[in-house]
Symmetry: C2
Subunit: 139 residues, 2 copies
DNA sequence: ATCTTTGCAAAGCTTTTGCAAGCTT
DNA sequence: AAGCTTGCAAAAGCTTTGCAAAGAT
């Protein structure tokens, strides 16, 4: 398992076909060092039609292979999803995006929803700031 | 104080002018019962230029008068901001958006950031589900 | 053989921009 | 008077769609 995703992600799904373009997108996505925009992905794959890139991004999101990362400025980037449920740590300096999960945090979120008489279906949490490498050494 | 915002929000800010169009947008925003899209706001103000509506939305966001509410499907709505720091409870059924704040939650978020070696600048948390009115009675 | 997927180009949305005219202070 | 703001219309992003050809199982 080189990167965690490969063609197998699409094989075996009834009604889904593993095609050249999809394989190419999958490889590019798996190889990406940092989160990318749809535009960047499309540009890195000149041989794949633009529409196909967008369609595949959507497909991979539905399959939980790719996750959408909303930046602070409202733009959207994508990153290979490394876990089921998680949150993002977005570095405003270098663009790196880390993931984390915290059951306690989720519990607290659930509690707030309940308090408001809200039946929670899902939630999204993004943290923005500077990653370790980009943070000024504080002491 | 009828709704919490009025022309005063723009008066007194050096370099900012209180114009008819802005007054109109401000009133529409204050009167809105539910979160709205830029498109809806523009349509409700036929007398105000589209560009002005967008520019004013941005201005009001910068002034913390309006807050951006990202929906689950990626679309954006806006709502009068009722507090400084807060999170959203978005009802997928009726579209209502509530706000809440929880210092404990923020502390936990801060802790997760620190653990990851992250210097936190800001964060955004949106909860999606069904509000009390739209939730099926459970028991 | 059947049903899915692709690519292209056009169409769709949403938001921004340039600039002269019009307001506010 | 000085300079912020408006409106229009064009331009700019970004994403989706229609459809015939190509591909996968």
């Amino acid at each position: 398992m080189p990167t965690g995703v490969d063609a197998a992600a699409l094989t075996g799904r009834p009604g889904l076909r593993l095609t050249g373009p999809r394989r190419a997108v999958l490889e590019a996505v798996a190889a990406a060092a940092t989160p990318f925009t749809a535009e960047e992905l499309a540009q890195s794959l000149p041989g794949v039609g633009r529409a196909t890139v967008f369609r595949t991004i959507r497909l991979l999101q539905d399959l939980d292979i790719l996750c959408r990362v909303p930046l602070e400025d409202g733009s959207i980037r994508y990153q290979l999803s490394r876990g089921d449920h998680h949150h993002h740590l977005v570095c405003s300096q270098c663009g790196a995006v880390g993931e984390f999960d915290d059951p306690e945090l989720d519990r607290l979120i659930q509690r707030n929803a309940r308090r408001a008489g809200f039946t929670l279906a899902s939630h999204s949490l993004e943290l923005y700031g500077s990653c370790r490498a980009c943070s000024p050494g504080r002491g």
